[in-house]
Symmetry: C2
Subunit: 330 residues, 2 copies
Amino acid sequence: MKTNQQILLKSRPDAVPAPSDFKLVDGNMPVPGAGEILCKTEYLSLDPYMRGQINGRHISGAIHPGEMMRGETVSEVLASNHDDFSPGDFVKHFGGWQAYSVSDGTGMQKLDGRISPRSLALGILGMPGLTAYAGLVHLAEPKAGDTVLVSAASGAVGSMVGQIAKIMGCRVIGIAGQQRKMDWLTDVAGFDGCFNYKDEEPSEAIKRLCPDGVDIYFDNVGGDILDAAMNQLAIGARVILCGLMAQYNTDSPPPGPNPGTIIRARAIVKGLVVYDHFDKQPAFLDKATEWIKSGQIKYVEDVTNGLSHAPDAFCRLMAGGNFGKTIVKL
Amino acid sequence: MKTNQQILLKSRPDAVPAPSDFKLVDGNMPVPGAGEILCKTEYLSLDPYMRGQINGRHISGAIHPGEMMRGETVSEVLASNHDDFSPGDFVKHFGGWQAYSVSDGTGMQKLDGRISPRSLALGILGMPGLTAYAGLVHLAEPKAGDTVLVSAASGAVGSMVGQIAKIMGCRVIGIAGQQRKMDWLTDVAGFDGCFNYKDEEPSEAIKRLCPDGVDIYFDNVGGDILDAAMNQLAIGARVILCGLMAQYNTDSPPPGPNPGTIIRARAIVKGLVVYDHFDKQPAFLDKATEWIKSGQIKYVEDVTNGLSHAPDAFCRLMAGGNFGKTIVKL
């Protein structure tokens, strides 16, 4: 009898997670009931927000030890008792860290035919891409000539923020932690500059690269880099708080930048949660598929083969060792 | 020969300032040159931002030991070589901590005849009032039914924030540090509730008084109270950062709230500097003079008589011992 490989959370790490915090199990093959759909996972998305779920601190809820890891997937419908989905359809849904899933269709979408390769539905054409688009275009409202600074710049969100900002006529500076990421940002993605926060003190580097101040800071990390950016804001700066990579691996939330940095710059700081922006998905997809087709948007995927390697890939992501959108191909 | 009493900064305090950090001197009576105006100070405004100037950290610049303390005054024109001002005019300008001043008219305004008593031009009908109005109405954009929380609530800025919010149909909670301030807020100014941050842990009190979350937090203090408020924000909250009383008496700026508080609430945090909002002064004055006439806005002034007592009054203000807008009458 066919089994269903699944990855469970084994223990809650209090720092950077290790593969031993996860457990691969063989579950029974799920059977779709009335109104339900049986799906086979093709791609699983690995994202930093999952670290918050493991901590019990994410807005979408907690994952407790013994529970299956949750995650967005591109899946193929194998069998369907649901009017909206048929065998052979490719869908995007929260299938989780498993080979097969059963769903009642809640939150399930058929994949837009313009998305190719399909894995992009989990990255720059999916939730991370929409995060970048909604945060930059709708919350930060860039003007041509603005200096835009973005952290975790070669990731799915960061690389889209920077490239959309370039399309909008901004000057774009990226922050990354590996030389190959830096090379890609300036040589391929068209960033105007970048620095490696492991090699150069962020506050010095930001002053050097943004001498007239930062008009928009799109923050995916928090911590010292946020602090440094807040101290170099231009008057009227907009700061989008999107991710907190620097504190996902800690047990208690550390403090943030001094509020005087916000007053001094008359800055506007906005918290971004992509769930509030799903209404912008169609407009985003229309634009972004064209940008990819025309070559204005480049991307890198960090693909790991086989569900059993998902814990390693996730731990690598949480240690900053990935390069591009982290995906598991089943 | 007549002399000009002046108060100089003697030494830069590194904590709460003491009267011994200031020095009263007898200067020569100033003489107006061509195009200049000689003024006699009637009222001097004492404000927390002056602590930032003493530290060299305020946006308006530093005051160094040996220099005269700066400050806004209501003054009477004694002699004028300037076409716009005549002897007998009452004006508002940055006359400083002195009995007489000479000015070339830069930044000097004739007092609006509706302002009575004239000291209100330095308080709820002056810069603090405009700060409250611009920050609340234009930056926080309150809707009827919003829960508005304000710190330093019985001060010139805080009391106007709360009372304008009440006029706009909000539920208003104040934070203060003395029982007589609390009594005034609820019994006179019409606040819906308040708490004494010295008697009750701010995070507990804010949860108790704002059980559905804080829609607007108008912050005049920073520090632990800001931290507590940020942890109780409602979804879509607006936070106006206006003052940092909690850190004016420190040498190095302490950290602020964890940025996760902003993300979780999808909050918008804005830095407020009143200098950006002088264009709103006429509209503000039209409304606020009516509100005072109709009794919708109440006020308290903390008046000290005699310039020589200004250092004591300022030190009391910086220790939270004032009650209402702090003014020196000369």
